[in-house]
Symmetry: C2
Subunit: 338 residues, 2 copies
């Protein structure tokens, strides 16, 4: 089998690898219907996170169950399934509290940019669709594996409520789907921070009511202007840099909520500043598994179409071009079809 | 009039000052029934916060209204009142959201360790008791001005709910009243972190079910042991140091709540660590005004007796001894009677 492996900065190869197989009785293997490149894949691709050995890439996936281990009860071969980037048992106290991405037995899923994938803890990780979906629905279902679930968690962590004023920092796929999530949750006003015309357009399509192009403290000043000097009720941080995090916190009204899902890189928060903002802060790796059943319903019933974030589709063996296009911001998100 | 003035590290003087008077039509003056020394007064007293000029001290107060400005409508001379350490208009958007200590027109109240005090924005700041209280109730009512309101906010920010496992970091007066607050809110288990026997005893009296003497990472390990490896649902941080803050965050279960009210001094939070804890974080200067009506009722009806934190009572002119006793941890909190 050929699969995607990252060797070092900007060195992505599609090469022969051992095919995944059932190792533990709780595993399943999945024939990938579609995979994609994640914004977080760009951290090691750009050399910001170190790569010490060749790494099989890809953690967003959906497809048909090929084989299951002897202990797997909730899914069976032939079913179409979606799972989270963190495998979870869905029974431990953290899972029961809805934080499956902090599962006491969690394992990172890796190697999804390939035709076949091994998923550990299949019973606690995979959720099946009512039936095998039409091909046109596959991209939207794929987003539920990470990027849409993460945007949804950002909005949930930021406590988005009907009628509230929401700011979304970050116009990558997660930020754009944060806009869509806030709209679904009934936000009254959704201010998207974006400088890129194609992303602004998609943000508006997903429900943004205002676009702000300024960043950092200028961006904060603009948000204050737009909210009558009060600040936003809910702010979604979908980048992970110091600037984005501070823009999010400083745009939040006292008593408001900042939800952060961008994996922080070098972010430092000053306790004293945070203290006087009176902001609520919550975030982390999205507990995608918690949201999968509801989000599958929303896609299945045509209520949301998050697959629109894919503006580049490539055959799987052209995966390196997907990384390049996203790195150069020529594409919002690259879909890979085996 | 004589009042308390801090000149520099460990230099507290009770000396002649100009008597407060009505300056703005929204002011009131109050004849102080009791005042006290706050843990936060010790920061400048110890030279940790700089003192650049002589500062009138004291921000916790209750007493009889002496005079009101022409615009004041809600309180009148002769009434017994309690107010927050931050004066607030109680009408701006931040006040309406329940964050009066972030009021758009907030002013720090200063100079309460004196027989007479000017309180700005009297209508939005002061709450009167049903009638003039018996003298024995005055200490408990005084705590509502800051220390009890702050302990209550810590528990509220940490989302304490019936039956939940709660940890309180800090055995100062705020931490001890955080224990009392968690008990009132129905916590199932309350683990107090304390090494001092007299404070442990009061913590137990206020409702602590367990005492942990370890601090820092050892303290975290002990909490994990006591909670079956899960962590606490709610953690109250009532100190303001790096060690206490990290102990609080690391003791919180994924999806749990850390409420922090210790004024942070040199605290830095690493974004990446915070991200993977999945903790909710909320805190800041307590919006005491929000809680005053309910807390007055609880004291008035004898449901709580937070005045027990005062283990040293001094005549006002011996205020310097109050600072010394608290600095040396000979007293939990010093009550000053004019």
């Amino acid at each position: 089998m050929k699969g995607t492996v990252l060797y070092g900065p900007r060195d992505v190869r599609f090469e022969e690898r051992e095919a995944p197989r059932i190792i533990k009785p709780t595993d399943a293997t999945i024939k990938i219907a579609a995979a994609c490149v994640c914004g977080s894949d760009l951290w090691p691709y750009r050399g910001i996170s170190p790569v010490t050995q060749p790494v099989p890439m890809g953690h967003e996936y959906c497809g048909i169950v090929e084989e299951v281990g002897s202990a797997v009860k909730s899914v069976k071969p032939g079913q179409f399934v979606i799972g989270s980037f963190f495998a979870s048992d869905n029974t431990c106290p953290h899972c029961q509290a809805g934080y499956q991405s902090s599962c006491q037995h969690r394992e990172l899923v890796a190697g999804a940019q390939a035709p076949l994938l091994r998923v550990p803890l299949a019973d606690g990780t995979l959720v099946s669709t009512p039936e095998v979906p039409p091909d046109g629905m596959v991209p939207s279902l794929l987003t539920l594996s990470d990027v849409m679930g993460t945007g949804w968690f950002a909005a949930d962590a930021a406590s988005v409520k009907p009628g509230k004023a929401v700011v979304v920092v970050g116009d990558g796929a997660v930020g754009l789907l944060g806009v869509l999530s806030a709209r679904q949750m009934g936000a009254g006003r959704i201010i998207a921070i974006s400088r890129h015309e194609t992303r602004q357009k998609l943000a508006r399509e997903f429900g943004a009511t205002d676009i702000v192009t300024e960043r950092g403290d200028e961006g904060v000043a603009r948000i204050m202007e737009l909210t009558g000097g009060i600040g936003a009720d809910s702010v979604l941080e979908c980048v992970g840099t110091q600037e984005a995090m501070m823009q999010a916190i400083r745009s939040t009204r006292p008593g408001g909520y900042a939800g952060y899902v961008g994996v922080p890189h070098g972010v430092q928060l000053k306790g004293e500043e945070l203290f006087f903002t009176h902001a609520h802060l919550h975030g982390g790796p999205a507990p995608v598994r918690r949201y999968l059943p509801d989000l599958i319903k929303l896609v299945w019933n045509g209520k949301i179409n998050p697959g629109k974030v894919f503006d580049l589709t490539l055959p799987l063996d052209k995966v390196a071009e997907g990384y390049r296009a996203m790195d150069e911001r020529r594409a919002i998100k690259a879909l890979l079809r085996p």
